[in-house]
Amino acid sequence: MTSAAGAAPQPLAGPARSSEATPIRRRLPLWRRNPSLVLGSLLIALIVGASLIGPLLMPYDPDAQDLLHTLQGPTVNHLLGTDSLGRDILSRMLSAGRVDLQIGFFCVSFPFVIGSLLGCLAGYYGGLLDTIIMRVIDIVVAFPFFVLILAIVAMLGPGLVNLYIAVGLVSWISYARIVRGEMLVARQSEFVLAAKVIGYHDARIIARHLLPNVITPAIVFSMSDFVLDIALGASLSFFGLGVQPPTPEWGLMVSDGRVFLTTNWWIATFPGLAIVLVGVAFSLFGDGLADALRPPS
């Protein structure tokens, strides 16, 4: 009973589709075997490349105002038009890419580390620690994800750091649940028994022997979580609680264009499409990853 976060880690394809390791399948080139993975990787490379290199190539300073050329539609000079202050939308979108990808990265990495660690400990040791962690998870999932984030950010104040804190406080539960579930199964394995017999410490058994076996589903989930967090960051910025102007951010740009929706549609439309593109790229990649990492049956 969690938000979309809980429902997400299912592969787009049904169980065991393109990864079935039949001899014929194995001989196919990767793009035939796993088109999602290839297409997703290419799109991600394109997006990351555009955000890193784009700002160096872009024709205008993203913050430069040009009050003589405000609210212009797409032209040769301004490929995606200009906003109400005459700023070039393409330049701002490229510059915003860095901000949005950074939001996705931090919103995923902190909860990933905290959640996986707690999930490992809860699943491995069980007992009181497990009970406490699971009770806390039960309580946190009772809140709608967006509402709880909104409430925490409302108290801490707007801004990116506070968004990261809020997401860190809430999002770890998904990772903890996934990793704990895997851990419960993996700790019964004979190689764990063998490692114990040899006399390895728990820390070594968890880190070296169990972690590689339990982390895969969490990695797959982190891709859909990334998509969710980019949309979350954009939504909070849209409502004035995330990135603050004049820093370009896609959600904020949509918010700027909202007033001009009826007359100058491009201002709000293009930054929104950028968010959609990132979503498609990471969803494809996540599905492909799920397929590729699924153990051969």
Binding site: M1, T2, G14, I139, A142, F145, F146, I152, A234
Partner: protein, 314 residues
């Protein structure tokens, strides 16, 4: 069959979670950095007397456990505190906004089901063939689509360009409200659809593989009858479960969409309260939303146990 013991056990099981969410909502306000009274009053009105008065009003001058017990005691009496901005009790303000939100939630759920059942069935029956791939490709675009942007695009296309629906508002009588809330509900339904259709598709594919479906087909039943009598009942159970799992997401979308379409509901109140730093309202609403999720989950479980009599408490 008597479901009462099951319902009773589910209710008992909820008590620790209920206590937990009161603790979380109590603590959320303590996240305000520095002195909450100072933040609430702003620099102009923040005289020492005012700060002391606010601290006393909020009970902040007492130890934390005592504050929590007072908070809990007030809750039991239905007292969620009072709004700074509106000078009214939070419960009263919330109560006025509940109908719009519940109506929108219900409306969006109905549209979601109307959208997901045929799509999920079509995709599952044609697994890996063209219709399935088209549906999956379409919803791939929906996964990362922020609902606020989708709402704006729908406004642009259907309200501004085609003049089919109003841009915003709530309407005055039920038919008018159904018309006014169509676009907001549709936006929520579309943003939920990728998750719902995907889950339903996978669950239907599993159902279609089951022996009883094979049996129904083997004894020569028409495909329509197999689908309606043998597959749809299972699909209905999955639908209820999938909707229940995603209720938190549904409520989150409602908060966003109410603000895009100016629907006077709880989500609209929440963002208004955030912008005016009306912390008691934010706190009260956080609690109310969590209670809503718990209530829906309980309803889901009960519906589920009615649809599938094998379900028992374990």
């Amino acid at each position: 069959m008597n479901r009462l013991p099951y319902v009773g056990k589910r209710l008992l099981q909820m008590i620790p979670v209920l206590i937990g969410i009161t603790i979380v909502t109590f603590l959320v306000v303590r996240l305000i950095p520095g002195n909450p009274a100072l933040v609430m009053l702003g620099p102009k009105k923040a005289t020492p007397e005012n700060i002391a008065a606010i601290n006393h009003h909020l009970g902040l001058d007492r130890p934390l456990p005592v504050q929590y017990l007072v908070f809990l005691g007030n809750l039991v009496h239905g007292d969620l505190g009072s709004s700074f901005f509106f000078q009214e009790s939070v419960l009263q303000l919330v109560w006025e906004k509940v109908p719009a939100t519940l109506f929108l939630l219900l409306y969006a759920t109905v549209l979601s089901v109307l959208l997901m059942l045929p799509m999920g069935l079509l995709a599952a029956l044609n697994k890996d063939r063209l219709p399935d791939q088209v549906i999956r490709a379409t919803f791939l675009f929906g996964l990362g689509m922020p609902s606020f942007w989708l709402g704006l695009v729908l406004i642009l296309a259907l309200s501004v360009n085609l003049h089919l629906f109003p841009v915003s508002g709530y309407g005055t009588n039920p038919p008018d409200q159904i018309w006014h809330l169509f676009l907001p509900a549709l936006t929520i339904a579309i943003s939920l659809a990728p998750i719902l259709v995907r889950s339903l598709r996978n669950s239907l594919i599993d159902t279609l593989r089951l022996d009883h479906v094979l049996m129904a087909r083997a004894k020569g039943l028409r495909e329509r009858r197999v689908l309606v009598r043998h597959v749809m009942r299972n699909a209905l159970i999955s639908t209820v479960t999938i909707l229940g799992i995603n209720i938190g997401f549904l409520i989150g979308s409602t908060v966003v969409i109410e603000n895009i379409f100016a629907v006077p509901g709880l989500g609209y109140l929440m963002l208004t309260a955030i912008s005016t730093r009306d912390y008691p309202i934010v706190q009260g609403l956080t609690l109310i939303f969590a209670l809503l999720v718990i209530a829906v989950n309980l309803l889901t479980d009960i519906t589920y146990s009615l649809l599938d009599p094998r379900v028992t408490y374990d």
